[in-house]
């Protein structure tokens, strides 16, 4: 009886320390989804109704729901660039709410990855003080707080493509793949801007890929080089909807036209990229096409607070 108890305890210890063989890891496709950095006001921070002469806290929850940045494959740590972005606060009269910071850095947040399927999470707090309304002879004021994020982001889209140097050849040979009319990439790639479709054309001396890009998020795409200068108060058509495209296929870097940055019109754009065609003798093969999109992104959240003069 004692032996059985001992065996049971040892088993339990093994389980509790995780010494049992690991169950098979469930593969999570973290490069899915159409969101990047997502914000929301924490419940009742601030409340919908407040009184004057008291501190006010705006607590913003920030989640990285996208897949950028990724952990270093060697160290496992996410390479989070400093100054990834900034949160800007506006929409209210600073004569009545004093001491609120106008902007705050977005804390470093890793993207969704194999180790963290939910992505990074942090909170940012804006604290200020509501002035005494009696001194200004007002009874109530409805302040609208607008928090706007401006951040750099990247999309990495990967699609297995068929490279067939002679797709129109009449020679009878076994092909491992055929070039389809288009490759459809649905559901996004874990970023607000996504590659939605790739069309492959084999030309005489090169292979051409027409890459379709779309803003699937709820914010605005901004030229990454103007992000820290114009976002969010000076955004206009000169600095909006601009994406930088690069990529590789079969060991070659994509050579794209028009040159970067690519302009999105109504949130949609396309670019034609080419790579040299492999030698004719080579038969068709499959290989991954990797497309990198770099851009700035901005989205906003808003909350209205009714501030009353203390009776």
């Amino acid at each position: 009886m004692r032996k059985i108890t001992l065996i049971v305890i040892i088993f339990l210890l093994f389980f509790s320390f995780g010494c049992t063989p690991a169950t098979e890891e469930t593969s999570v496709d973290y490069r899915k989804g159409t969101q990047g950095i997502v914000m929301n006001f924490m419940t009742d921070m601030p409340p919908a109704k407040m009184y004057d002469s008291m501190p006010i806290d705006l607590v913003v929850e920030i989640k990285n729901k996208g897949a950028y940045p990724q952990p270093n494959p060697l160290t496992g740590w996410a390479i989070i660039p400093k100054g990834v972005g900034t949160l800007y606060l506006s929409g209210f009269d600073t004569a009545f709410i004093s001491g609120m910071p106008k902007s705050m850095d977005i804390p470093p947040l890793e993207g969704k990855n194999v180790y963290n399927s939910e992505g990074g999470y942090d909170v940012v707090s804006f604290r200020g003080n509501i002035i005494d309304f009696d001194s200004r002879n007002i009874d109530k004021y409805t302040a609208n707080f607008l928090v706007t994020s401006c951040y750099n982001y990247q999309t990495i889209a990967s699609q297995t493509v068929c490279i067939d140097p002679e797709p129109y050849s009449t020679k009878q040979k076994t092909r491992v793949c055929t070039v389809p009319p288009s490759y459809s990439l649905s559901g996004g790639q874990g970023a607000p801007v996504a590659v939605t479709k790739v069309e492959e054309t084999v030309l005489s001396n090169k292979i051409q890929f027409k890459i379709y890009i779309k803003n699937l998020g709820d914010g605005q795409v901004i030229d990454k080089n103007r992000l820290n200068i114009d976002c969010p108060y000076s955004l206009d058509y000169t600095n909006l909807d601009k994406v930088y495209v690069s990529g590789r296929v079969s060991g070659y870097s994509l050579s794209c036209r028009p040159t970067n940055p690519i302009m999105l019109i109504n949130g949609i754009g396309s670019v034609i990229c080419t790579v040299p065609k492999p030698t004719m003798s080579r038969s068709a093969y499959t290989t991954p096409l990797q497309v990198n999109l770099e851009y700035g992104y901005s989205s906003s959240i808003q909350k209205s607070v009714e501030i009353l003069n203390t009776p």
């Binding site: 004569a95 200004r136 906003s300």
Partner: protein, 316 residues
């Protein structure tokens, strides 16, 4: 008998437990107490009356004999949301048939607090004067006479509205806006003169980097009396002659955030009991700011008067 007692105890215990849970929920703040609502001064700024006046029952009486003493009494109620000081009430009688016992009582001063958190219904007071009927004509059996009472007081209308300052009128910036510029229609603000509508506009300035917020404010006399110059209230409730220039005068003060706006015309002279005033922030606001909301505070200061009368029959 014992079972019935036990059941009763159980029910009492359950009720006590239920009440404790409800009390705990209220105290913890998890449940909003429906019986407690937050009230501010703005909640009292409703209605279209300032000071209301009524004759007391039988003071004066409807019928009275000649050479007989009687009282004229009125009840004054401040049904508006502004405290009035140094108001006047005057009594006018047909001097051939009646006389006031104390000639100084022709105009009596008063102060009355308006509706507020501490006096939700507004303050009220009673003023009485003693009078006497005189002898009527030999040939008459009776004479019908009129007693006129007038009240003159300073009053204020105040309204705060949150308005939208749009620094990007032509939508050139591609930034989300927290508000849109729109007209605001208002109900009376607990005073006889009301702000009925505010039209907002963001005007271009000489300096390209600025916008000038401008407002057209509509004002109307919604009470049952006349607007008068606030500095002439004692004259109007007396036998002093009235100049037409002293009627329908309203002083206006408009603040946007903590800046006073320039208003024209100032003071305002109502025509047909209404008018509008245009106010502008000449200093302008920088276009570099994002669109934001700001409080616009409008204060109207004026004098107000209204009268009522009662017919009495003096019998022989």
């Amino acid at each position: 008998m014992e079972i019935r007692k036990t059941n009763k105890n159980r029910i009492n215990l359950m009720i006590a437990l239920l009440l404790s849970v409800i009390l705990a929920l209220f105290m913890s703040g998890c449940v909003t107490n429906p019986f407690i609502t937050t009230t501010t001064q703005d909640d009292f700024r409703t209605g279209s009356q300032g000071i209301l006046m009524e004759f007391l029952t039988n003071a004066p009486p409807s019928e009275i004999y000649e050479e007989y003493p009687f009282q004229i009494g009125v009840i004054l109620k401040n049904t508006g949301a502004y405290d009035t000081k140094n108001g006047f009430i005057s009594f006018t009688i047909e001097e051939d048939y009646m006389e006031l016992m104390n000639q100084n009582q022709g105009a009596v001063s008063f102060s009355l607090k308006g509706k507020s958190v501490s006096i939700p219904t507004g303050d009220q007071l009673i003023k009485t004067v003693n009078a006497n009927t005189k002898k009527i004509d030999e040939q008459s059996e009776q004479h019908e006479s009129t007693i006129l009472t007038s009240v003159c007081y300073q009053y204020q209308t105040k309204k705060d509205v949150t308005i939208c300052i749009d620094t990007d009128v032509y939508d050139l910036k591609k930034m989300q806006k927290v508000c849109v510029v729109k007209d605001i229609t208002l109900t009376p603000q607990g005073a006889p003169v009301a702000i009925t509508k505010i039209e907002s506009e963001m005007l271009p300035a000489e300096d390209d980097n600025l916008i000038k917020p401008a407002f057209k404010i509509y004002i109307k006399n919604v009470g049952n009396g006349e607007v008068i110059d606030k500095g002439k209230i004692s004259d109007i409730c007396s036998s002093e002659p009235i100049d037409y220039k002293e009627l329908n005068i309203v002083d206006i003060k408009v603040m946007l955030s903590n800046e006073e706006l320039e208003c024209k015309p100032e003071p305002l002279k109502l025509k047909d009991n209404k008018d509008e005033v245009r106010c502008i922030l000449e200093k302008g606001i920088s276009k570099d700011k994002a669109t934001y909301t700001s409080p616009l505070t409008i204060e109207l200061n004026y004098g107000y008067t209204y009268s009522m009368s009662k017919k009495i029959v003096i019998k022989k």
